[in-house]
């Protein structure tokens, strides 16, 4: 039997990074083939070449479907060839009904007039086929996340997809919703639909897969039958990489406990029954670097956001700063209590891109640095210049606009903003994402320096080497729960990854 899909030696480069390096992947009719790897291993990029998000010509290698080399220019092209992708973020229009969504852009019509009864009949039949008790006239926004996911699948089937790609489909689902999804996937499998399944949850991967392919750093590490693999083997394949020595080996001396968190819970904003952080307790000492590891959607950012008073959904729990219980309901209260937060995604959460470095750096501590009501620009310039020098920000002057800086320098500006608030505890969320190696190293040594000066540091990172190289202690989250705690000496990539995949 020939495979329905072959991806041959796929290579994809972004400026300065090789995201995919000769990846080979194939899929048979009725096969459930899982694609696993660390964050950033290239899974999503690979699927984007398959779906035409990255059009033909922007990548190297061949995509072969049914024995024919395909040259997809758009997502539409790949859909015509029978490829359907269900992304992590749902792509449904919430205001439209289930039926309208399923046939969006392909409405049964004559002379541009939609035949509504035909549309809803067809939609009802599709939903019935999948045993989904959903009225096609319901607006999608009224459905839960789990049901929306199933509507996406119905939509894919309406396009007679032969290849169904599911990118972390269970990330936002409850357990019973996951079961419903799997039942439907099994049914599709028996009908001959080939499925590519991307997930961080190895339990699910082993429950469903025929074969498993592991990607690491943009390369295929191996493809094997699921029956020949164990979770430990998969984890070893995922992390099998030398931890480089870009991490300065320094030992930190710890002081008293700076921050303690007890029984913290945080709930999903859209799905308030779902806990994103589930009863997490931990503490961090002065001078200690505490790493928090976990895969995407494990609740790491939500944990920090909740402590910082910035989580917009519901959250509960106790926070103690230097042994004293504090009530933090807003970021300004967190700052007053000595917590700083270098947030992830600097462009979205960190920077005023149109404003100069100075205004960015002084923003969080403005009233202390500049003046309670009237600002004092010279004082601000002095403060910003000092921070720029100690963090080695490469820019002409504190008046250089933040948006014109490189990623590494932008990250340093955000770091500087928080250091200028004189924090006792500093949260770092993905502090080196999307910046070059040189800048990474500078940030690492800055983190070590700050710890030496007695700052308590809590660092969330998706890069395992970074967590292991910098942390004095590592906490691991899986689906919102604390599933592992390792000292610097105990922590190995395998142990951390095992805990992160809920396999401990």
């Amino acid at each position: 039997m020939n495979p329905i899909l072959e991806m041959r030696a796929i290579t994809k480069e972004f400026p300065g990074v090789k995201a995919l390096d000769g990846v080979t992947f194939d899929l048979y009719e009725g096969e459930f083939h899982s694609l696993v790897g660390e964050n950033g291993a290239g899974k999503s990029t690979l699927m984007k070449t398959l779906s035409g998000v990255y059009p033909y010509g922007t990548y190297g290698g061949d995509i072969v479907i049914d024995g024919e080399i395909r040259q997809f220019k758009t997502i539409r092209d790949s859909e015509h060839a029978g490829v359907a992708i269900i992304f992590q973020e749902l792509s449904l229009v919430k205001e439209l009904t289930v039926g309208e969504n399923i046939f969006l852009g392909r409405e049964p019509s004559k002379f541009g007039i939609i035949n509504w009864s035909e549309l809803y009949q067809k939609a009802a039949k599709l939903l019935q086929d999948l045993n989904l008790p959903i009225d096609p006239r319901t607006p999608v926004g009224n459905l839960g996340i789990g049901q929306q996911q199933l509507v996406e699948i119905a939509k894919a089937l309406s396009q007679s997809a032969k290849i169904l790609v599911l990118d972390e489909p269970t990330a936002a689902l409850t357990e019973s919703e996951v079961e419903t999804l799997f039942e439907i996937l099994r049914k599709l499998k028996s009908r001959g639909v080939g499925m590519i399944y991307i997930s961080h949850k190895l339990d699910e991967v082993f429950e469903m897969s025929d074969r498993i392919t592991v990607l690491r750093d943009g390369k295929t590490v191996g493809t094997q039958n699921a029956g020949d693999l164990t979770k430990d083997k998969v984890i070893a394949l995922m992390v099998g990489r030398e931890v480089g020595d870009i991490f300065p080996k320094t030992s930190h001396e710890f002081g008293d406990t700076a921050l303690e968190v007890r029984n913290l819970n945080a709930f999903d904003l859209d799905n308030p029954d779902k806990k994103l952080v589930d009863n997490v307790s931990f503490s961090v000492k002065k001078g200690e670097v505490l790493g928090i590891s976990g895969l995407m959607g494990a609740g790491r950012s939500e944990l920090l956001m909740s402590i910082f008073g910035a989580w917009q959904g519901k959250s509960t729990g106790e926070v103690l700063v230097e042994g004293k219980q504090v009530s933090i309901n807003s970021p300004s209260e967190a700052i007053k209590n000595g917590i700083g937060f270098v947030t992830e995604d600097r462009k979205r959460f960190g920077l005023l891109l149109e404003q100069p470095i100075r205004d960015n750096m002084t923003l969080a501590g403005l009233k202390k640095i500049s003046g309670a009501f009237v600002t004092h620009l010279s004082k601000e310039t002095v403060a910003a210049r000092g921070a720029m020098q100690s963090l080695k920000v490469k820019a002409n002057s504190p008046l250089t606009v933040a948006g014109t800086l490189s990623g590494g320098n932008q990250q340093k500006v955000v770091l500087g903003k928080w250091l200028l608030t004189n924090p006792k505890v500093l949260f770092l969320d993905e502090p080196t994402r999307g910046i070059d190696v040189g800048a990474k190293q500078e940030i690492y040594s800055e983190i070590n320096k700050l710890a030496k000066e007695g700052l308590a540091i809590v660092m969330v990172s998706s890069e395992l080497p970074e967590v292991l190289g910098l942390s004095d202690r590592v906490l691991v989250l899986h689906e919102g729960k604390l599933t592992g705690e390792f000292s610097k000496n105990e922590a190995t990539p395998e142990k951390v990854m095992a805990a992160a995949t809920g396999n401990h």
Binding site: P331, A334, L352, Q355, L363, L366, V374, L377, S378
Partner: protein, 382 residues
């Protein structure tokens, strides 16, 4: 894009560069009308008139600008102006209150409405466009109800001074002198603090050079006004409001927070800024300025009419946009907004002098608004 342009120790920021472009455009418009009207446009009498026409829109534009910087908008200021002015006039004429009460009432109406709009927008999460579109209708209805759709004339001569009075020639020059001294003092301070904070040598010469243009402007302005009837009081009020607005946006933490909120709300919130409270405050501040504009407007007309201030909100918004403010928030200056108001008034004034028909005037103004933003977008891309 907006890097600093350094030129022989003379630093110009691109936002300032844009203001200079606008200033250039204004001068071209003035020269054009001056030529077309055979010398009437730049006569001191007409300049005095032009400044008077600018003042009400200008006061509103300063308030509007602060709201626009924060990423919001207010479509109701024309209606609020009518209501605040109407209440003041009714208090004076019908209820027999004195001048201070009337003034306080006008401002209180503005602040109260700002409180309502701000609460609904920031805390009720209703978009500013909707809240103030509702306000545009509702407050216009309110003034029609309060005034029974009748014009209320004002007899109080002191009140009328706010719209029709002029400074004496002597006091005009006196104030101009104070303004020039203040400019020089600020320049001296800037140069001195440069040295004090170790940011380089105190460059008195450069700071002095930078002050020359504004000083010449003040002298020219005062000379022109004094050649007519002296500086009109509404123009003085506008100037004070503009200085106040420039101070708030440039030199206060509140002003900085407005830029931060408009530029990136998430980043502002995560930096500990109470975004909602600050948005509420800026609505109330706009309310104060709308109340002041209402007093000037009503005093100038000598009466309050139920349809006073119609379309003023759009003129104020247009002034901000022509002056370089972005409706997406985070960008704009008080100086630009004032310049924008002056450009709008110049077009009105000049075309009226040329007896250009109303409909053409409107088409020209609309075209210029869109063209100004279009040119700006092209400039930004390159």
């Amino acid at each position: 894009m907006s890097e600093k342009v350094e030129k022989s120790g003379f630093k110009i920021e691109t936002s300032a560069l844009r203001s200079y472009t606008m200033l250039g455009a204004l001068i071209l418009i003035w020269l054009f009308f001056h030529w077309q009207t055979g010398g009437t446009f730049l006569s001191s009498g007409n300049l005095s008139n032009l400044m008077l026409q600018t003042s009400v829109t200008g006061i509103l534009a300063v308030g509007m600008l602060m709201l626009i910087i924060a990423g919001q908008i207010d479509l109701s200021v024309g209606s609020v102006l009518a209501l605040a002015g109407g209440v003041a006039a009714i208090a004076l004429t019908n209820w027999g209150y004195g001048l201070p009460i009337a003034i306080i009432l006008a401002i209180a109406v503005g602040v109260f409405i700002g409180l309502i709009h701000g609460t609904l927008n920031a805390y009720g999460k209703i978009p500013a466009f909707i809240v103030t579109l509702g306000g545009l209708l509702a407050w216009r209805g309110a003034i029609k109800g309060v005034s029974r759709s009748e014009t209320v004339s004002v007899a109080d001569p002191t009140f009328k001074m706010f719209g029709q009075g002029n400074l004496t020639i002597g006091s005009g020059w006196f104030l101009a002198g104070i303004a020039i001294l203040a400019l020089l003092f600020l320049a001296y301070q800037r140069a001195k603090s440069q040295k004090e904070y170790g940011l380089g040598e105190a460059d008195y010469k450069a700071e002095l050079l930078k002050s020359i243009l504004p000083i010449l402007g003040i002298i020219g302005f005062t000379f022109a006004m004094n050649s007519s009837n002296g500086i009109p009081l509404p123009v003085l009020i506008f100037a004070i409001v503009a200085i106040f607005g420039a101070f708030i946006t440039n030199s206060t933490t509140f002003g900085r927070y407005l830029y931060a909120i408009g530029g990136n709300t998430d980043a502002a919130r995560l930096s500990g800024i109470d975004t909602k409270l600050n948005i509420l405050k800026v609505y109330m501040l706009l309310g104060v300025l709308t109340g002041i504009a209402a007093i000037v407007f009503t005093a100038r007309q000598g009466s309050a009419t139920p349809d006073a201030g119609t379309l003023k909100e759009l003129e104020a918004i247009a002034a901000c946009v022509i002056g370089g403010a972005s409706l997406m928030g985070g960008r704009g200056t008080v100086f630009g907004a004032c310049l924008g108001a002056l450009i709008m008034a110049s077009l009105d004034n000049g075309m009226s002098l040329l007896n250009i028909r109303d409909f053409v005037q409107e088409i020209v103004k609309g075209t210029i608004l869109v063209a100004a933003v279009g040119v700006d977008m092209i400039g930004r891309k390159s």
